[in-house]
């Protein structure tokens, strides 16, 4: 009889966790380059009773548990900002940034220049070029980032373009293996090697918004709350059944 309680409980736990995932998506609805997460569930079958000599085969009890969260790497909408240091990546590539913990990958193209003239992310991590960090000179103006990631400037009173570097764009055979680290960064696990990406295009003056689809998230939210309430009601009925059974059975005829 307790199986039902436990099955209901397993579903409630997964629903709570799914709500956590939805909450994180919605919280990051305005986060540059954010990729939504989705929950995956799987059935977990508990082995039946050991005795196999029943008239009918004992049925296995089916629980649910969360199997995985996967990243939805669909492109987010691009917003035109006209800021020369904003880039949106058209394609599946990532920018490479150097953090204290090692190389990390990001889709957040809201870039800045630090006090040494180096190209950095909003949190100050160095953006990597194909040959090291990209450094601007104090007299540089008219920064231009080409579609292939080449960065050119006009130096001082010059009239011609001077190359300051080329953005290192990488992609992964299986981007699902990337781990979200917070701070809009992804890390690659051991043995996962980024490949240079030559098909993706860089759009200067645009920024990639979060790919969270508010309609999806809201409908999922409704679904979660309704299912949760239903299971609560189901458990309540189970409880009532128990109580009635106990009362009836304990009702000694006078």
């Amino acid at each position: 009889m307790e199986n039902m309680l436990l099955v209901g409980l397993s579903r409630k736990m997964t629903l709570e966790r799914q709500l956590d995932v939805v909450a994180n998506n919605v919280a990051n609805i305005n986060t540059t380059g954010f990729k939504a997460d989705r929950s995956l569930f799987e059935e977990y079958l508990r082995s039946p009773a050991h005795e196999d000599n029943f008239m009918h085969a004992d049925r296995r009890v089916s629980f649910v548990h969360d199997r995985a969260t996967y990243h939805d790497f669909a492109a987010g909408p691009s917003e035109h900002t006209k800021n020369p240091l904003d880039i949106a990546i058209d394609g599946k590539a990532f920018l490479v940034v150097q953090t204290a913990a090692g190389e990390r990958y990001t889709r957040d193209g809201g870039l800045q220049i630090n006090n040494q003239g180096q190209l950095v992310t909003a949190s100050g991590d160095l953006v990597q070029g194909t040959s090291g960090p990209i450094v601007f000179q104090p007299t540089d103006k008219s920064i231009n980032i080409a579609a292939d990631g080449n960065i050119t400037v006009v130096e001082g009173t010059g009239r011609t373009d001077t190359v300051r570097g080329k953005l290192r764009l990488v992609s992964f055979a299986d981007p699902q293996k990337l781990v979200k680290e917070g701070g809009n960064l992804y890390s690659a696990g051991q043995g996962i090697v980024p490949q240079p990406d030559i098909t993706s295009r860089v759009n200067q003056g645009y920024i990639e918004k979060s790919n969270v689809n508010s309609v999806h998230e809201m409908s999922r939210l409704i679904e979660i709350t309704r299912t949760y309430t239903q299971i609560s009601a189901m458990l309540q009925q189970q409880h009532d059944l128990h109580r009635t059974a106990v009362e009836k059975l304990a009702d000694v005829p006078a």
């Binding site: 629903l15 709570e16 966790r17 709500l19 956590d20 995932v21 909450a23 994180n24 919605v26 919280a27 990051n28 609805i29 305005n30 986060t31 540059t32 954010f34 997460d37 969360d66 199997r67 995985a68 969260t69 900002t81 006209k82 800021n83 020369p84 809201g110 800045q112 220049i113 630090n114 006090n115 040494q116 003239g117 909003a122 949190s123 601007f136 104090p138 007299t139 103006k141 006009v154 001082g156 009173t157 699902q176 293996k177 781990v179 979200k180 701070g183 809009n184 051991q190 508010s214 998230e217 809201m218 939210l221 979660i224 709350t225 949760y228 309430t229 609560s232 458990l235 309540q236 409880h239």
Partner: protein, 262 residues
């Protein structure tokens, strides 16, 4: 329930976003104002099942993990230093910078501040000052009785003195630039001060070495675009509402649990 706190970070972030947007809109008519933008990042993740962990004795590994995010944080409110449009005023002492550079202003405590607001005036001593009365650096004094003040693209100020047929050079307004102008610290009154993030100020002459040129008789408008701001405002407001919905959903779930087995 974790979702409650996650959604609360989202509401706080959108509230800050609305504050930044409202300050942009409030300053859409402020000369030389540079708009700000709130930049957000996701918070650290709780790796319930880490990707790549061993799933069985046979060495199969999990292709995807269970990662639960903790919400959103504000990483900064970077200033977008794009050029504002120039509007002609016809006033001799209104100067707009077209391109890189800031005017250097001496503030009352003796230190320097920097501005893109070129609506200058003359004080009682004939010095060129900002609207607050702080002198422009290097200090330029316009002689009395002089007429026809001309400021050329390099910032050279010339006047016609009575009895003279040729203009007289009375000084040159300098410009200052920073390697990271987005890292300047705004102190109000359209002024910025340098910070460790901005890099050291580099003084120079307009229209040389990558500095912008000066446009006399013009003022630089704020680079705020109303349509963009309003659409950002709508997006921020809706995002706030959606986070509030998540909180009420979490609350509803808690309620259904607490109402069980009565």
């Amino acid at each position: 329930m974790r979702a409650l706190y996650t959604a609360a970070t989202g509401m706080a972030a959108q509230e800050l976003n609305v504050q930044v947007i409202s300050n942009n809109i409030a300053n859409m008519r402020t000369t030389g104002y540079k708009k700000q933008r709130a930049a957000f990042q996701d918070l650290i993740y709780d790796h319930v099942r880490r990707v790549g962990a061993q799933a069985s004795d046979q060495g199969t590994i999990l292709p995807v993990g269970v990662d639960i995010g903790g919400g959103v944080k504000t990483v900064g409110t970077p200033r977008l230093m794009g050029q504002g449009t120039l509007s002609p005023t016809g006033n001799d002492l209104d100067i707009a910078i077209r391109g890189e550079g800031f005017f250097k202003i001496q503030v009352p405590d003796g230190t320097y501040a920097y501005t893109r607001d070129g609506s200058f005036m003359m004080d009682a001593q004939g010095r060129v000052v900002t609207a607050q009365g702080n002198p422009v650096q290097p200090t330029i004094t316009i002689p009395q009785n002089s007429s026809a003040i001309t400021i050329n693209a390099q910032g050279q100020v010339t006047v016609m003195l009575p009895g003279s047929t040729t203009p007289t050079l009375v000084g040159q307004i300098g410009l200052t630039r920073f390697i990271n102008k987005a890292g300047l610290n705004p102190i109000g009154d359209n002024l910025f001060t340098d910070t460790p993030a901005s890099g050291t100020p580099q003084d120079g002459v307009a229209n040389t070495d990558g500095f912008g040129d000066m446009q006399q008789g013009n003022l630089e408008q704020a680079n705020v675009e109303v349509v963009t701001e309003i659409s950002d405002l709508i997006a921020a407001q809706r995002a706030y509402e959606m986070n509030a919905k998540v909180i009420s959903a979490a609350d509803q779930m808690l309620q259904s649990t607490s109402n069980m087995f009565r």
